[in-house]
Amino acid sequence: MDLITPQLGLLFWQTILFLLLLFVLTKFAWKPIMAGLREREDSIESALRMADQAKIEMQQLKAGNEKLLADARQERDRMMQEAQVMVNQFRETEKTKAVEEANRITQQAREAIQTEKNAALAEVKNTAAQLSVDIAERILRRELSEPAAQTQLVDSYLKDVKLN
């Protein structure tokens, strides 16, 4: 029976000490502990949220970068194309110029050749005439001693003239 008989003294001390314990622990342990736990949970939650946000920002940044890259690539292509066009134009004009120059030089050369040829021909004609005159003189000196030969010569000249 002793076991299930409440003791007045123990009840008194238990009540006082338990309430004291409840008060002390609440003030100095449970409140700081619960606050600390909540604070940590909040900080973890906010850290997670920030990480999510950072992820989204990273994605946005990445998308922006890609757009930038695509733009740059397009710009480069465009510039390349322009350069190509310019180069082609330049080459075309240079070619035309070169062809013209070549034509001019050829023309000059041809003209020079013509002049030289004419000069050469004139000289050849002169020399030939000189030679002919010389030859003719010698022949004449020898042949014109005879009247028949003279007539024959004149005739041949005349024949030539007619043929011309």
Binding site: G9, L10, F28
Partner: protein, 357 residues
């Protein structure tokens, strides 16, 4: 702090080993007439001195005891405060007008006496309060020194338990208003658990297996339940929804009785579980002395050890059950109307929570 905890853990690991020599020494000498019932009751019940061991014969040997202050109030003779050793030293167990009769204080002249002594249980209660405050001050300081950081040491050992009480017990049983009741729930959980463990240490008092202590805790839960109850709680008792009018004369008294049966079940459950564990361990050890054969110990000691280990589990389990049921009773008192329709049927007024009776 660390050393204290270590020492505590060390002591907790060998309760049965340490209990054996104590019992053996205490009772070894008077083996001619061994009364296990008396020995067990001496160990389980409260006492005015803290007795650790007896060397030699009970009457002539040395008693290793811690004398405790006796505080007796006699309306006829006033307040008297003295050491309990004065009662035990005298042949008649009397000091002044106070007499110790079968471990109870009475007046020598038969006038009423109110005993407020610091008994073994009260001393143990003070010790446990001190330990609890020291440990949880250390835990709390961990949160201020490592603000928002990871827990360390004692803090990381006890934090999961605190979180468990908050998330699994308070939030689930009480609902959104749980925060107000957290200090009480945490205090009773750790108070019961630590005292259960202290009760398992050799030579310690059986505080949480004392009906006075469990009575006080149950009354605390009852008062908190009643003071935090709302109109739906009382409506549920005096006009249970969905019950035919003719049945009300039966149901209402049952519901009213239920208000008191709940805390009584809390009181008896804790008391019976803890005391029964102690009695079983002591009974196994007593077998050795009953049979007057050391060979019985080959069987009795492993059994006692097994029960002691089981008691370590029971210590935690009973603390959890007491806390969980208290939270459920409080939850039943504070819940809002919309929940109560689903919870008819549950005697503890909780929503689908496991019945841990």
């Amino acid at each position: 702090m660390k050393h204290l905890l270590l020492a505590l853990c060390f002591l907790l690991t060998l309760p049965s080993f340490a209990q054996q020599p104590e019992t053996a020494v205490a009772e070894g000498a008077k083996s001619e007439n061994f009364d296990p019932g008396k020995v067990i009751m001496e160990h389980v019940a409260d006492n005015h001195e803290w007795h650790f061991a007896t060397l030699g014969d009970e009457h002539t040997g040395t008693h290793i005891t811690l004398p405790l202050p006796v505080i007796a109030y006699q309306p006829a003779h006033g307040l008297s405060v003295f050491s309990s050793s004065k009662l035990h030293d005298s042949e008649t167990h009397t000091y002044g007008t106070v007499k110790l009769e079968e471990s109870k204080l009475v007046s020598t002249d038969g006038t009423p006496l109110y005993d407020f002594s610091i008994t073994k249980n009260v001393a143990s209660l003070m010790l446990s309060c001190l330990i609890l405050i020291l440990i949880f001050r250390t835990v709390a300081s961990g949160y201020s020194t490592r603000k928002g950081g990871a827990p360390k040491g004692v803090q990381s050992m006890l934090e999961p338990i605190v979180l468990f009480i908050r998330d699994e017990v308070a939030k689930k049983s009480i609902g959104p208003k749980y925060e107000r009741y957290m200090p009480y729930l945490l205090t009773i959980f750790f108070f019961i658990w630590f005292n259960n463990l202290l009760g398992l240490t050799p030579g310690a008092a059986n505080l949480s297996g004392n009906i006075t202590v469990t009575f006080m805790l149950a009354v605390a839960t009852l008062l908190i339940t009643l003071f935090s109850s709302n109109k739906y709680y009382w409506g549920h008792i005096f006009r249970p929804p969905g019950v035919p009018l003719l049945l009300l004369p039966i149901i209402v008294p049952v519901e009213i009785a239920g208000i008191f049966i709940k805390p009584i079940s809390l009181m008896v459950r804790l008391f019976a579980n803890i005391t029964a564990g102690h009695i079983i361990v002591l009974s196994f050890i007593s077998l050795i002395f009953l049979f007057k054969a050391a060979t019985v110990g080959v069987v009795a000691i492993p059994f006692a050890l097994f029960i002691s280990l089981l008691e370590l589990l029971v210590a935690l389990l009973q603390a959890y059950i007491f806390t969980l049921l208290s939270a459920m009773y409080i939850g039943g008192a504070v819940e809002d109307h919309h929940d109560s329709d689903f919870q008819m049927g549950y005697d503890d007024g909780s929503e689908g929570a496991p019945a841990a009776h």
